[in-house]
């Protein structure tokens, strides 16, 4: 993925994030995720149906990297099983650590493949995934 494409994906998801809405509906599990060293602070709402992730939404305030990563996460993981989601999350983490990962799984998530070079933004990109991961593990 070239730099212009990466930039375009991130900006598009930042300017027009998917499913940015609060869900007070009891069928949604809410998880808060925030960074200790900065001010990113997101609530993620997940609707589980057994082992299936039926819906994900979010609200909160965060930087361009966190918001866009959240949107990309939502777009890629709705309709997936929790196992598939954890696999995606694992590969995303691997990418941000500059370890071997499966690029085919991540799709648009590959837009952050250089983020490992910016230590202070790595936590921004992984923020929504840490939230979702926690919710899935608690759901199990």
């Amino acid at each position: 993925m070239d730099n212009e494409t990466k930039r375009a994906i991130i900006m598009e998801h930042y300017m027009h994030p998917k499913n940015r809405m609060r869900k007070d509906n009891a069928s949604y599990t809410k998880v808060n995720t925030r960074n200790a060293s900065c001010i990113d602070n997101l609530d993620i709402y997940i609707k589980f149906n057994g082992d299936l992730i039926e819906d994900i939404t979010f609200e909160g305030e965060a930087c361009a990297i966190s918001i866009s990563a959240t949107s990309i996460m939502i777009e890629n993981l709705i309709g997936k099983t929790t196992k598939e989601a954890l696999d995606y999350i694992h590969n995303f983490y691997q990418m941000t650590e500059n370890n071997t990962y499966d690029a085919n799984i991540l799709r648009e998530g590959n837009a952050y493949q250089d983020i490992y070079k910016q230590g202070n933004r790595k936590t921004c990109a992984t923020l929504p995934f840490r939230g979702l991961e926690k919710a899935i593990l608690e759901h199990k």
Binding site: R7, E61, C63, I65
Partner: protein
């Protein structure tokens, strides 16, 4: 000014985060290295020359601090790890033993977490109340609003001398006078004030003052708690152990050392104390009034330029310190900070540890530029040029 004294400034960096911590001049680094290299014995211990030298320098540092803030007595100067620690000592060691359920403490929504959370603990433990002095349209504390907030239950007013987000200089002397007329204690968080202007505790007549060394060109991990002698006598030592006791045989017979040693248990941060003295000597040589005047000029220069940029919203237009807080329209503060970082400009984004301020200001996060005397007009020109190009910010913020 004095840029040549700071080794870090030899790097291609523009440092505008002086509210968080300040850079260290070579003389401070040298002093600490000298201690560690040449006479790193403990204080108040041995009968040998090295330790005697440490003793003398340690107590000389106390004298320097006493003169720096014009305290009356040496016993009123207690070395602490920093302002946070100092405020916790005041709240937990003094006020926790004095206040009762229903007593009121006045603070504001723009206080730093360390002047909020210790009081919240007393709310939960003792049933005291924390009330907020309303801020005016500029987010200032006015004497009038302090007056209105005082009730017959008010026992303490605890305020920053200068706040770390708004940068407003509070009328501490007048507030202290008003407090004392009403038998109220005045605690002053001097973390953002003492490094930037002349401070005279005797003239201000504050009951307690804290500040940190690292925010005034000194080392991290060292700060000062000032308290009026008669009050410090009643501050329960938070830490017990070596260095603070005279003798003890059993739980009923414990004899503590006099002030200030009673409040400095354990081996102290000696290198920090000596570094702090070197920093204060250094600032004194420049002159605190000169530092204050220069920072204000610098800030005015910055404001005059930023105010002309349409996409910038300045939060604290009027403030009289070196702190300027703003937002770029529709850009999250952290993204602005990352953008500037690409050009080696260090600014702070966030809520700056004043988490309840957002309810007053209406925005949850801001970009903060906090100046010190080594910043220059040219550095501000650089910053302004980068901030004036909105398309560039959007293009380069990720």
């Amino acid at each position: 000014m004095n840029r040549e004294d700071f080794p870090l400034l030899k790097q291609d960096i523009i440092y505008f985060d002086n509210g968080a911590t300040t850079l260290k001049p070579q003389c401070v680094i040298d002093k600490m290295t000298d201690y560690y290299s040449n006479y790193s014995a403990n204080a108040h211990r041995g009968d040998y020359d090295l330790s005697f030298k440490v003793d003398q320098e340690y107590e000389n540092a106390r004298e320097t601090v006493k003169n720096f803030i014009n305290a009356k007595y040496l016993e009123e100067i207690v070395f602490t790890p920093g302002s946070t620690e100092g405020l916790n000592m005041i709240v937990n060691g003094f006020f926790a033993n004095l206040l009762e359920a229903g007593d009121e403490v006045l603070i504001t929504t723009s206080e730093h977490a360390s002047n909020v959370l210790p009081w919240f603990r007393l709310v939960n433990k003792l049933g005291i109340k924390v009330n907020y002095i309303p801020l005016d349209d500029n987010y200032y504390v006015t004497l009038e609003n302090v007056k209105k907030s005082i009730t017959s239950n008010t026992k303490v007013i605890s305020l920053a001398g200068i706040t770390n987000v708004i940068g407003d200089v509070r009328p501490i002397k007048q507030i202290a006078a008003l407090a004392h007329e009403n038998n109220i204690f005045l605690v002053c968080d001097g973390a953002q004030m003492v490094p930037h202007m002349p401070v005279d505790v005797t003239d201000l007549d504050v009951d307690f003052l804290v500040f940190s060394g690292h925010k005034l060109c000194g080392p991290t991990g060292i700060g000062v708690l000032y308290g009026k002698k008669e009050l410090l006598e009643n501050l329960e030592p938070p830490i017990l152990g070596g260095g603070m006791n005279e003798s003890f045989d059993n739980p009923q017979e414990i004899y503590l050392k006099p002030l200030p040693m009673r409040l400095e248990a354990g081996t102290q941060n000696i290198a920090g104390v000596l570094g702090l003295k070197a920093a204060i000597d250094y600032l004194n040589k420049i002159g605190m009034s000169k530092i204050n005047d220069y920072e204000k000029e610098l800030r005015k220069y910055l404001v005059d330029k930023l105010i002309r940029i349409k996409h910038i919203d300045i939060i604290n237009l009027e403030s009289d310190s070196g702190i300027l807080t703003f937002n770029v329209n529709n850009v999250f503060s952290q993204d602005v900070a990352y953008y500037l970082n690409k050009y080696n400009i260090c600014v702070r984004a966030g809520n700056h540890c004043a988490k309840i301020l957002k309810s007053s200001v209406g925005v949850t996060s801001t970009v903060r530029v906090s100046l010190y005397f080594y910043n220059t007009y040219e550095e501000i020109d650089n910053l302004v040029e980068l901030l004036s190009n909105y398309d560039k910010i959007i293009k380069e913020m990720i």
